[in-house]
């Protein structure tokens, strides 16, 4: 592991005396505090959004507990040990995605789950959300930065395989998130600006060409509806009209907890899953939304701090990509519900109902904690 070898480090510099109890059990206190805050806010909003459904709340709390355990366990694993197991994990993940693809097609329908009845049931694409950035980080950490054309190409190929498989499920939202998580590693790894700008510049004429020469009228219509859901007020646009009404009617201070009318009268579809921010905005107003944004910002800031302080390149790349991906979740979800972005199925982290997403997110933060708390303690000069 050349990447984790730090020539400036000598055993004399290692100071363990400052390690507190939390650090010894590999938990990062600021992260934990912020996560618990978000979890509590989530349950609080969910209680209202689900129509005071204690069952649902219980399930969500249980998932949060599982997530915390998973986070704690992952935080104990040393990053260098993680890095060793990343390539096989990537291969296993891809194999599972292929298996899902095969099973899904033989069952004549879309499926995203691996299901062995009575034993285990999970989505390989969730697993991929952490493995994807880890794989690219593992690959780039062993190369010179910024990555050369060849290494960039290999990294893009590694990203493309699972992304295409997940797109085939079909699950556009998740595949784009996984694409983003891998791309962020490249970005943080210093992918040259002119390549980034070049790729963007190449995309524009390509899209224009597709639009005018490669698409049928009905396909164009679909794209237009996707980009502007309000042109289809009986389909996806209905959700957006209702969620905007919910958010807007919240005003500055909101209608108060449990007093949102849009969500409680079933006007707002999926009010406890993807559209839950509309419930929060309706009941707690602009103030509530801004406070939530502040909590998210603090979480992201902590994640980026961990990135900068990480001692290994692998740790830096992975921590940075996980944090940025987390931000994408927040932005895409809130952008979509408030009518800024097209509707793709992305839950709001820690607030939307859904156990799988909770466990994955908390596991991701477990990785951050591991990166941060397994550092060799160096005297601060």
């Amino acid at each position: 592991m050349t990447a984790s070898f730090d020539p400036t480090l000598s055993s004399d510099d290692v100071l363990r005396r400052r390690a507190s109890f939390l650090q010894r059990i590999h938990v990062d206190a600021p992260l934990l505090l912020l996560l618990l805050t978000l979890g509590a806010v989530g349950l609080f909003v969910l209680y209202s959004a689900s129509g005071r459904n204690w069952d649902l709340l219980g399930k969500q709390a249980f998932s949060f507990g599982i997530g915390l355990v998973s986070m704690f366990v992952i935080a104990q694993i040393e990053p260098r040990f993680m890095a060793r197991w990343v390539p096989p994990a990537y291969l296993v993940g891809v194999a599972l995605l292929v298996a899902v693809d095969v099973i899904g097609h033989s069952a004549m329908g879309a499926t995203r789950w691996i299901n062995i009845p009575g034993v285990i049931r999970f989505q390989p694409s969730e697993f991929m959300k952490i493995i994807m950035p880890a794989t690219i980080a593992w690959y780039l950490a062993r190369r010179t930065l910024p990555p050369s054309l060849k290494h960039t190409a290999v990294a893009l190929a590694l990203i493309a395989v699972p992304v295409v498989l997940i797109m085939r499920q079909p699950d556009l939202g998740t595949s784009l998130l996984i694409l983003a998580s891998g791309a962020f590693v490249l970005f943080i790894g210093g992918l040259r600006w002119r390549w980034i700008l070049g790729a963007l510049a190449a995309f524009v004429p390509l899209a224009i060409g597709m639009w005018f020469f490669g698409m049928h009228q009905y396909q164009k219509q679909r794209v237009l509806t996707f980009l502007d859901p309000e042109s289809d007020p009986l389909g996806t646009g209905w959700n957006i009209i209702q969620s905007k009404a919910a958010i807007g009617s919240g005003g500055v201070f909101g209608k108060g907890w449990l007093l949102g009318t849009q969500s409680h009268l079933d006007f707002l579809p999926e009010s406890h899953t993807d559209f839950i921010i509309a419930v929060l905005a309706e009941e707690f107003g602009l103030v509530g939304v801004c406070l939530l944004l502040v909590v998210y910002l603090l979480l992201i800031a902590r994640g980026l701090t961990i990135t900068v302080q990480a001692q290994t390149l692998f740790g830096k790349l992975l921590a940075g990509a996980l944090t940025m991906t987390f931000f994408v979740y927040v932005f895409v979800n809130m952008g979509m519900v408030s009518g800024l972005l097209p509707v793709v199925g992305v839950p709001l982290p820690f607030i939307s109902y859904g156990g799988t997403s909770l466990v994955t997110l908390l596991s991701g933060f477990g990785v951050l904690m591991s990166i941060h708390t397994h550092r060799k303690w160096i005297a601060q000069v």
Binding site: F187, G189, G190, P233, L234, A245, D266, L286, G335, S338
Partner: protein, 630 residues
Amino acid sequence: MPQPIPLKDHEKDARLVRRRVIFGLAVVLLLLGVLASRMYYLQVIQYEHHSTLSENNRVHVQPIPPTRGLIFDRNGNIIADNRPSFSLTVTRERAGDWRSVLDVVVDVLGLTEEDRALFEKRVLQGRRPFEPVPILFELSEEQIARIAVNQFRLPGVEVAAQLVRYYPEGAHFAHSVGYVGRINERELAKLDPVDYAGTHHIGKTGIEKFYEDVLHGEVGYEEVETNARGRVLRVLKRTDPVPGKDLTLTLDLKLQQAAEAALAGRRGAIVALQPDTGEVLAMVSQPSFDPNLFVTGISFKDYGALRDSLDQPLYNRVLRGLYPPGSTIKPMMAIAGLDAGVVTPTSKVFDPGFFQLPNVKHKYRNWNRGGDGWVDLVTAIMRSNDTYFYDLAHKLGIDRMHDYMTQFGFGQRVSLDMNEETDGLMPSREWKRSRYRQPWYPGETVILGIGQGYMQATPLQLAQATSLIATRGKWIRPRLAKSIAGEPPVDENPHPDIQLRDPRYWDLAQEGMEMVLYGARGTAKRVGDTATAYRIAGKSGTAQVVAIKQGERYDSEALAERHRDHALFVGFAPADDPQIVVAVMVENGESGSGVAAPVLKQVMDAWLLDENGQLKTEFSPTLSAEVAAP
């Protein structure tokens, strides 16, 4: 240093990552700012707007169903209309305890438990929140009044006016135009839920089904403000629906009625079409039924009566009725024989009253047991001589026969726009091997020569094959739509024309068919004698229903009647300038020339003659030539 050292520069890497992280943080701050401003825009600047929308749950999106396109006959007579009809709707979300509201409805209107069960089923099919679901159609004045008086007991219940399909011509076009009916669960799963939001009917059969996309139109919607009780106060925004396109059919109401009258109550099928355009002028399948019964849901009793009737009124005999074509295919066989070179215009066959395969004892009999002596091709068509065609078929062989008959449209769907049409059957060696796992026997070829054996054709296919004789091989698919909102339909899968070695073969087949009616020994001479205003070229045929064993007897006369052969007659007129092709099938009519031919003549008369019994000027070649000259 001259050489670059292949060592990782960790400090440099860390600086690079740090720069990228700072950039990332800047983007995060910027985008969070965007989110916050978006929320500010919605919650502060647009607060009034959204707050009013949300205040009373006022904003509803209601679909406005498009008006279904109308259907006209070729002269602009309306065949499928939309008629306002009042229906009772329930909006589940506003009804509160909707099951007890249904109880009140049943009570107020004096309906039965059975109706209530049906209502409950219909309400549960409701598709989106706050959508009124119709549960009872065609309310009477009295029912509307009763509902109005009891409105206070019926929250969420409304009387809604909507346009419902109506077929003013009733049974006349039930088999060609078809009908619409309520969308069922299976159809619902396949439909675009947005496009059909608010639409309750869909084309089930015939033209209504085939041109569903065209007739349906595009859904519109309005955003409406309602009060807490769901009453619409104000329309905020409206997008009008695009009504379905009107269809003009090729059918002619008068000819259709005349053709039905010509059958005089007998069971049977008639197709009349224009040979040069493929336009179907009349399409009769008798008995028929009233399509209006199906529009708002037919009762079990009525449906059972239609389904179980011995006369099978629901059965589309023109498109789905499969009959051995019998002697009606002799003109096409003659063309096949001539083009393949197995017979010539002058070659003759001696008919002793039967045909024998070499070295086989079995005798294939001519219908005329005495035999016709030496017959050539034209005489063979005129006399419907079986022996000649046994011989021709034997020489032609099954493979070439299959090839030629396929060119005439047998064994495949021939129409442009008729849903229900079946393929029929033109047998071949491969077909028999896969169907029966048996080789093809020469005897089977022999009887195919006179249209017996495995071969099966619909009346439409017979009309099309006859039309090909009339047009000398020019293929144009029979069609029911003349124009769709002004545009003629397009055949995207045109059938190649029939090319003969010598186009004069067509003349021989036409001559033979003309002789059937006007030859001294023509099989339909009696009808030919009455058709003098113009000349008909035709061919009779008999389709066996059941092989009745020798000596078998039936007790009931009525049952025996249904085992008689079907009578067939096909033809076109005027013989020298074909304007109309007609195929007639009379169920259990026994005699093609005796029963079906007079029907055919009546249909042709109705199309070609004016009130004075003279050929209409537009069909008269000399007169129309004068008109055409300036």
